[in-house]
Amino acid sequence: MTPFAKLNSPTELDALKRKAISAIQGCATRVLVCGGTGCMANGGPAVLDALQKALEKHEVPVRADIMREEDEDAITIGYSGCPGYCQVGPIVRILPADYFYVQVKPEDADDIVTQTVMNGKPVDRLLFKDENNSYAKRDDLPFYKDQVNVVLADCGVIEPGDIRDYIARDGYRALAEALFGLTPEAVVAEVTESGLRGRGGAGFSTGRKWGFTQVVQSAKKYVVCNADEGDPGAFMDESIMEGNPHALLEGMAIAGYAIGADEGYIYVRAEYPLAISRLRTAISQAEQAGLLGDRILGGPFSFHIHIKEGAGAFVCGEETALISSIEGQRGMPRPKPPFPANSGLWGKPTVVNNVETFANVSKIILNGAEWFRSFGIERSPGTKVFALTGDVVNTGLIEVPMGTTLGDVVFKIGGGIRTGRPFKAVQIGGPSGACLTEEHLDLPLDYDSLKSVGAMVGSGGLVVMDDSTCMVEIARFFMSFTQKESCGKCVLCREGTKRMLDILTRIVSGKGKVEDISLLEELALTVRDGSLCGLGKSAPNPVISTLKHFRDEYLAHIVDGVCPAGECESFKAYSIVSEKCKGCGLCAKKCPVNAISGELKSPYVIDATLCTRCGVCAEVCKFDAVVLS
């Protein structure tokens, strides 16, 4: 790609935009292969490769550059960002016809080229189908029908690797308007007025946070993007960075202008190599185009963005820990106050927001606070991206207005339970979150409603579980995660999570004591109330919420000696299938605790009260007569 010419004024940006629109509109067909982590892993690159070869074979002219207007009839082909429906990947979209092909294989390339690209007709077998219908266009799919895309609107439509595709869709216009039409105070006021709340956790007002930082007098300030999306089961920030990296950069630059910062850091997990490379490309293109760096669009404002790769520590999602990590130290949270707004990175006033929050900013500046408030509900305006995963039919990224009910998400968008078994619970907000159950299906998903039932939006992971999932085991799983990820600084989190994990492990391995429940509860409440940082304060949530909604399951493990979901290994018992047993007696001979008895040549039996579940019998049996159930 040729280097971009530096834009020296908003007018030049406008001109480029018009040029880009006309070039892209003049393009006969755009073939977009999903370049999100999911589809890339699922064979996306092979599909792109096959498509390119098929185009060559059929001598379809392909533009080397999306802006090459002289190739008027030529088509473009490239990676798009993630359209969210990872379940059915690899996805190929054809614009402007807007065909949405799912589970595309390299061998489908020829048909796509001959039927769709050359003749404008859809390839029926590649369209999404359910039992009744076949769907040609994206927005008709049941998965998308109830979604409202603000943040993800451009993801999956533009090529993240070309800044002009973003510019064609109003990219960087918000920045230009802010820099040349608004005072920093006005920007802060607009964002405050929009009611945007931080999308990464507790939901603090973004505008107010900026306001606190703006009023602090300091020659140096920083904007930090928290892209350390560590919640297991959440990948919306990854998707935005991969699919629309400029939206993040533009949001950060606007924040920089608003608070008076000239430098920004994106702290991104090293586990997201694709997002990192897309961001690097995007930063370099924006710098070439004069949209980042010194004297943006020829004006007085300069803003530089650096990428810092995380090194594998969930706690660095906590803003003060993240700051320590950027400074090159152990990612240990610091006590607040002082808040980053006063003393953040290298002691300078700092705004820390997450990816999705910044990605909303340009839309707010462009369309106004009023427009933003038209989505969602009064106290939680806008939309929220959730990562819908687990035992649900449709998995992927979804974006819905704040306040959409849990039931709609699970059953309308998610399509219900994949396994056909009964719905049991949804785990929301990852290791800091809580479990919601059937009684919460009408609960609106927004900051305050979730808080009222002891849950939190967190980063927005929604893991749906059917009745084969043991809730004590889920609590143990999350506790083992937070325990490993605790920085070890404050006593309650370090020692408390370890002890909670001990107790939970004891319960799921059938060694629980009745008094464990009250001790666990006391510990959970104490760690929640007394810990130093957000990680510790929220670490007990999975325990508290499962104890609240599924106490019976805990008791069943401890008192009745069963795991009702049938998941916990320790509660499974070995037995001998009498039809298969030849009565050889080998198992009885090898059993270390003499739990097996019987007479030669007739079926043997295992005494479950004596059995220690060592599994030797199953191993030695030559007839597969010993089973675990």
């Binding site: 607040k336 990820e485 605790s486």
Partner: protein, 679 residues
């Protein structure tokens, strides 16, 4: 900040306190803490000082700035529950062999568990035991007792500017440890013991030598004598509630005799001797135009610090031995000459406020044919435990005088125990020499007094102006050294004590050893000075006698033999060298290039790179085993290169060609011919 805070319903003035914890403590509530120390940064990890603030909920008071109108409750049910749980969790994870622990009865964990009513621990005990580090002379580290409050880490990093200890790992695996899990003796520890002073539990304690001392006392073939450092009396007075340092010292003398020491002497005597020797050395340097500033050398932690981090300034260190070591060598000589007690039979014990003195006494240069000048060093803490072991009630004892001649001192010797004391002693001597006055009239230089870590003064005596810096806390020393190095600052005399406030706050002093305790001890020492008849070291009649009978005159040859010493560069950290060539068959010439700090800064990396290039160009790459090493302890001559057994200094990149041709090439070609290029 001014205004009022309502604490448990009582209006309390903020009075400029820097955090809520201090306001609450000032109001008469002893809020518990493990990780809060006013002289260290706020850490917020122990969760003991949490309170309930209206509108904010549970907050750590140490990290909360006080605000007018705050309403705070310090012992709600919830707050108490959290504190007790935090303690229960710590106890569950703690090797609680309290009765035999060095911190028994002085352990904060034990104390708070008792005070806050933690009656049982409902969690399983842990079985894994981590190794104890007792491989150095000064300090013991038992990680099994560590509660990870980080006090030692911050003390070493923030106040001492060294950072020997840090956190390792994360989650419940976090430990406090020197780099790479090494022992303290293999890293940059200067043994100041300030970490042990702030450690709330038995995780960092002083390594005791009381057993050796008891053994010597009970050995009929030994004559056991003891010297007591100036700062000890102030701590003893405090610990036993005795008014007046000399009064406390008198009672201690009686106690020491009852314990079984044959003679009791005062290190303040050799402090006077140090003043005379050091002042003479200073005047000599000025007269000869030698390197200034002259650094004091009484503090062994500071000396090791310079040896490790600033070897370029070794020649600035006064060559005087510390008062402890002057006493040792003088006593061994004196007893052999006058009391017919041979070196080997004389057992010299020091009572020191210091843990680094144990290391100092063990330095090989302070021994004659393996017999150390000072045989054992016990800290003030250990003296107290010996007194307790013997069942002696110090406060009830009648005071006795020290033995002569080494028990006689001037006030100048006494103030060696506090920061500024050495500088003032030298100034007094110089001032009196300049303009003789009455011997008993006090001469004071108040500008160098006080616990501040960085004091500067210019004193004009006659036509001379002496520029002084008086430093305590090695972080301050580092800062000033950097300024001297950059030419920003110039001094004639720099007094450095590793511990904040000087020896009164030494790592061997009884606990609490906080700034408040140090302030009181400092006053005690200046009071001692005031009541003693003489204030100028040069007026000490026994010092004069000493010169007449043995030492001839200050800085004489015999004085140099007995009272002066030398220093050496020290490798900061022990460990593996960097291997630069893969194992190949056939004999190879080892060539090591130092990439330790000093050599690295003087371009040793380029030296190494050029050497490797040369090796490749001359086809000798396979014959040479290149290694990068971290220190040859010859930092003055950096960059250093070792070929075979010989170390060559000053091998800067521009000398590579010559050096390679003349030295490495012949060696690699089998003609090992070592010739010294040492510069």
């Amino acid at each position: 900040m001014e205004g009022y805070i309502t604490i448990d319903g009582v209006q309390t003035p903020i009075n400029g306190c820097k955090n809520l914890l201090e306001v609450i403590r000032a109001s008469g509530i002893e809020l518990p803490t493990f990780c809060y120390h006013s002289e260290l940064s706020v850490y917020g990890a122990c969760r003991m000082c949490i309170v309930d603030i209206d509108g904010r909920g549970i907050q750590a008071s140490c990290s909360t700035p006080p605000e007018d109108g705050m309403v705070v409750r310090t012992h709600t049910e919830q707050v108490m529950r959290i504190r007790r749980m935090a303690l229960e969790l710590l106890l569950a994870n703690h090797h609680g062999n309290c009765q035999t622990c060095g911190k028994n009865t002085r352990c904060k964990l034990q104390d708070l568990a008792q005070k806050l009513g933690v009656k049982n621990v409902r969690f399983d005990e842990l079985n894994d035991v981590l190794p104890i580090d007792d491989t150095n002379q000064s300090l013991m580290r038992d990680p099994n007792k560590c509660i990870l409050c980080g006090d030692c880490v911050r003390m070493c990093k923030e106040v001492q500017g060294i950072g020997v200890l840090d956190f390792v790992g994360r989650g419940s695996d976090v430990r406090v440890s020197p780099a790479f899990g090494k022992n303290l003796k293999d890293v940059e520890c200067v043994y100041c013991g300030q970490c042990a002073s702030v450690c709330p539990t038995g995780a960092l304690t002083i390594k005791s030598q009381t057993d050796q001392v008891w053994k010597a006392i009970n050995d009929p073939t030994k004559t056991v004598i003891v010297q007591v450092a100036p700062a000890v009396r102030a701590a003893i007075a405090q610990a036993y509630g005795i008014t007046g340092g000399e009064h406390a010292m008198g009672k201690t003398v009686t106690a020491l005799r009852r314990i079984g020491f044959e003679k009791v002497y005062d290190t303040s005597f050799t402090a006077d001797l140090t003043t005379v020797e050091e002042a003479t050395e200073f005047l000599g340097r000025v007269a000869k135009g030698e390197k200034l500033p002259q650094f004091t050398s009484c503090c062994p932690a500071w000396v090791k610090f310079v040896e490790q981090f600033y070897p370029g300034y070794l020649s600035n260190l006064s060559s005087c031995k510390s008062p402890q070591q002057m006493f040792g060598s003088l006593a061994k000589q004196y007893f052999a000459d006058n009391e017919s007690v041979e070196r080997e039979s004389l057992y010299v014990v020091s009572v020191m406020p210091c843990t680094a003195k144990k290391f100092e006494a063990d330095r090989p240069e302070f021994a004659v044919e393996g017999d150390p000048d000072v045989n054992a060093v016990i800290s003030t803490q250990e003296l107290i435990s010996m007194i307790d072991e013997a069942g002696i009630r110090v406060a009830d004892l009648p005071p006795e005088s020290m033995d002569l001649p080494f028990g006689f001192k001037t006030g100048a010797g006494i103030i060696f125990g506090t920061s500024g004391g050495v500088a003032e002693a030298v100034l007094r001597l110089a001032a009196a020499a300049e303009k003789p006055t009455s011997k008993t009239a006090p001469i004071e230089f108040r500008e160098v007094r006080g616990l501040e870590g960085l004091k500067e003064a210019s004193v004009t005596l006659g036509d001379k102006t002496i520029r002084l810096a008086v430093l305590s806390g090695l972080a301050n020393a580092r800062e000033v050294l950097e300024r001297i190095q950059s030419g920003e600052a110039e001094y004639d005399i720099v007094e450095v004590m590793a511990c904040r406030g000087g020896c009164i706050g030494g790592g061997g002093q009884p606990l609490p050893n906080d700034m408040q305790a140090r302030e009181e001890r400092k006053r005690t020492l200046y009071d001692c000075d005031a009541i003693l008849p003489l204030h100028n070291a040069a007026d000490n009649p026994y010092i004069k006698e000493c010169y007449e009978k043995l030492l001839q005159k200050p800085n004489s040859a015999i004085a140099h033999k007995l009272l002066h010493t030398g220093y050496r560069s020290r490798r900061r950290i022990q460990g593996e060298d960097l291997e630069l060539t893969e194992e190949q068959t056939g004999p190879k010439t080892p060539v090591s290039v130092c990439i330790g700090t000093n050599c690295y800064l003087r371009g040793s990396y380029d030296t190494l790179r050029r050497l490797i290039d040369k090796a490749r160009e001359s086809g000798l790459a396979g014959k040479i085993d290149f290694r990068a090493t971290f220190c040859f302890e010859k930092c003055k001559a950096s960059p250093n290169v070792q070929v075979g057994e010989t170390i060559y200094g000053g091998i800067t990149p521009d000398k590579i060609d010559e050096f390679f041709e003349n030295t490495i090439k012949p060696a690699a070609q089998g003609a090992v011919k070592a010739e010294t290029l040492e510069v």
